[in-house]
């Protein structure tokens, strides 16, 4: 520094620039939010206002598809927050997603009321079919939407809290943590497959009628759901961005890079991990809750271990430690999946595997890493002499190092 005193607060901006960011809203983040708003509003406009005879009309199918991609993007965001920034590789995040989805599903099932096949005003169809005499206690309250929303947030949060508390307190890290998260989601899958769990067994929940009185078979409801999903995704993104750009976010990066050193500085490492993990679980839960009314079904296969692994691939493909990269990865990979499973169904899994291998080898910073970093010279903070451009694209170290950890 050439002796000039910095205004407190300005350093914050400048350090972010040094890491390739662009102040409170990084460049990529701004673009992401702009594109997201444009897509959500544009697509629903083209679906609702443009007549279906027009070439510009977007079908209800496409609306649902985009809504699904955005939910997956939110799930990828939650994984990137803990993996990209804190080095916690969770291979069980689909469990939180599914739990949020089940909470929403329970509300939607009770919303059906007497319109079910068996016409029972209280019991959902599958309970009548399985000879339930009365509603299990844990289904109470789900006829109220607000209670259901509370559960969508609380149940994934509670699971993340309890699981994370045990895992982090015992200093379970790296690949061991990844393995037990796989076990977690697998165990939940087996549990939800059981008919006597009271969650519809392998059929799960489906045949929903409406949400808050709005018909789930109408295009308008789906367009509104898409806009809500986009808004929630934007809000989650902004919240995650605020966390990673706070001092807590820098502590989290410090934990990722040198955990014991961070502990030695006096930071309660386990508590940081736990807070982040719970927050991430909540985002995943919200994503699941938004997913179910749009897709129209939730069943135990959502807990399948492979789902959680796919999320990690989306994040890696998009670019770890950037947040918006994870979302982009989720959308792109899932678009490819939609296309390939339609056009060449037998190729998809090979393509996914090849994609992961190729990205790991050739694009360690993901697709986002292909975008050239802003030239540092223009925005160079005063005094920063040795800043290197290759550090700019992302906060994350190359992927193979993190996997080894």
């Amino acid at each position: 520094m050439n002796g000039d005193k910095q205004v407190p607060g300005l350093w914050h901006r400048t350090t972010l620039v040094a890491r390739g960011g662009d102040g409170r809203f990084d460049r990529g983040g701004k673009w992401f939010l702009a594109v997201l708003a444009l897509v959500a509003i544009g697509v629903s406009f083209l679906n609702q206002v443009v007549p279906s005879s027009s070439a510009l009309h977007i079908s209800a199918f496409a609306i649902t598809l985009i809504g699904k991609y955005l939910c997956y993007g939110m799930l990828a965001l939650s994984v990137d927050l803990i993996w990209g920034y804190c080095g916690i590789l969770s291979l069980g995040h689909a469990a939180f997603f599914a739990l949020g989805g089940y909470a929403m599903g329970m509300y939607l099932m009770r919303e059906i009321g007497p319109r079910g096949v068996y016409g029972n005003p209280i019991l959902p169809d599958f309970m009548v079919f399985l000879n339930y005499k009365s509603l299990p206690w844990f289904w109470y309250g789900f006829n109220h939407f607000l209670f259901a929303v509370l559960m969508m947030l609380l149940v994934p949060a509670l699971l993340a809290l309890v699981f994370g508390w045990f895992a982090f307190r015992s200093r379970v890290t790296g690949v061991y943590f990844s393995i037990i998260t796989q076990a977690l989601t697998y165990a939940l899958m087996l549990a939800f497959f059981r008919n006597n769990m009271g969650f519809g067994g392998n059929n799960g929940f489906t045949d929903f009628k409406d949400i808050l009185g709005f018909d789930l078979h109408s295009d308008l409801t789906h367009a509104v759901l898409l806009v809500i999903t986009a808004a929630m995704l934007a809000a989650s993104y902004i919240a995650c961005r605020a966390i990673v750009e706070s001092r807590a976010g820098r502590v989290v990066l410090a934990i990722r890079d040198a955990e014991s050193r961070t502990r030695f500085l006096g930071y309660p490492v386990e508590s940081f991990k736990l807070w982040l993990f719970v927050f991430s679980g909540i985002i995943a839960g919200i994503a699941g809750a938004l997913y179910v009314p749009q897709i129209g079904i939730i069943n135990p296969s959502e807990f399948a271990p492979i789902n959680s692994i796919e999320v990690v691939i989306w994040v890696a493909v998009g670019g770890r430690g950037t947040l918006y990269g994870a979302i982009a990865g989720a959308v792109l990979v899932n678009y490819a999946k939609t296309y390939l499973t339609g056009a060449f169904p037998e190729v998809w899994l090979y393509a996914l595997g090849a994609l992961f291998v190729l990205v790991t080898i050739f694009l360690p910073r993901g697709i986002i890493g292909l975008i050239p970093a802003r030239r540092p010279a223009k925005r160079q903070p005063r005094g920063g002499g040795e800043y290197q451009a290759d550090a700019a694209a992302t906060n994350a170290p190359p992927i193979e190092r993190v996997i080894e950890k």
Partner: protein
């Protein structure tokens, strides 16, 4: 000897690992503001001594006092850090993906909880302290550089800077010049000398010319005991030291 006048006071400290005595009734003191060098061949017990002071290793017997107020044997590792003892490890570990400034920011004394750090902002007093430390360690020019692009020497200085952020009364510095270029050694010498007086400093080092250039008082450890003490010239003439070091 009056414990209260000493910054650090170890008496009759014994540590044994499976019968091997890493420290054997070690008695040692450090004056306030003093820069003390500790030398000794491998296995002399230098690192074990540091471990005892920072609470990492508990001695079998003996006493260890910090400034007369803190019984180090009763405190946990974080409590000892909070009491004002900072330790720099042999291998520098700075946060590679954070800038120099951010490394120092995280080392600031104060808030440590997640929710508080979520909202923490740097006050102007803290900003001044960081500027001050950047100046002391000579990294003002590199404040926006990521930790990972620093040279080995710069990382060592940054780590010393991170210790200074917590205003420790006693600094334990393990082999600060290992692997440094002559120029870096020169700057490290100046850095440590500039801290003398403000802080008590204990330096463990092998490099004899470095020790000669900074130390007023040198303590030689061998097999867990002090075998010689005094200024460098006196120590080097001591027959036991010559024997241990094969005529260094």
């Amino acid at each position: 000897m009056n414990v209260r006048n000493k910054r650090l006071y170890l008496e009759d400290v014994t540590v044994s690992f499976d019968g091997f005595k890493a420290l054997n009734q070690l008695t040692l003191y450090v004056e306030p503001g003093e820069l003390l060098c500790i030398i000794g061949p491998n296995g002399a017990g230098k690192t074990t001594m540091m471990d005892v002071i920072t609470g990492k290793t508990r001695p079998d017997s003996g006493t260890a006092w910090f400034g007369g107020d803190y019984d180090l044997l009763q405190l946990s590792e974080p409590e000892i850090v909070a009491a004002g003892i900072g330790r720099k490890f042999q291998k520098p570990t700075v946060f590679e993906q954070l800038t120099v400034f951010e490394n120092l920011e995280l080392a600031l004394a104060g808030t440590r909880s997640f929710l508080k750090t979520l909202r923490a902002r740097i006050t102007s007093a803290q900003q001044r302290r960081i500027d001050e430390v950047l100046d002391i360690i000579g990294l003002s020019e590199h404040r926006w550089s990521l930790g990972r692009i620093l040279s080995h020497g710069q990382k060592q200085w940054l780590e010393i800077g991170m210790l200074l952020m917590q205003n420790p009364e006693l600094l334990l510095v393990d082999e600060p010049v290992a692997g440094m270029t002559p120029h870096e050694i020169e700057r490290t010498t100046q850095l440590l000398l500039s801290l003398e007086g403000e802080h008590s400093i204990v330096v463990v080092e092998h490099d004899m010319s470095f020790v000669r250039s900074i130390a007023r008082r040198v303590t030689v450890l061998h097999e867990g005991q002090v075998i010689a003490e005094g200024d460098m010239d006196k120590v080097q003439k001591d027959p036991r030291v010559i024997e241990v070091y094969l005529g260094v």
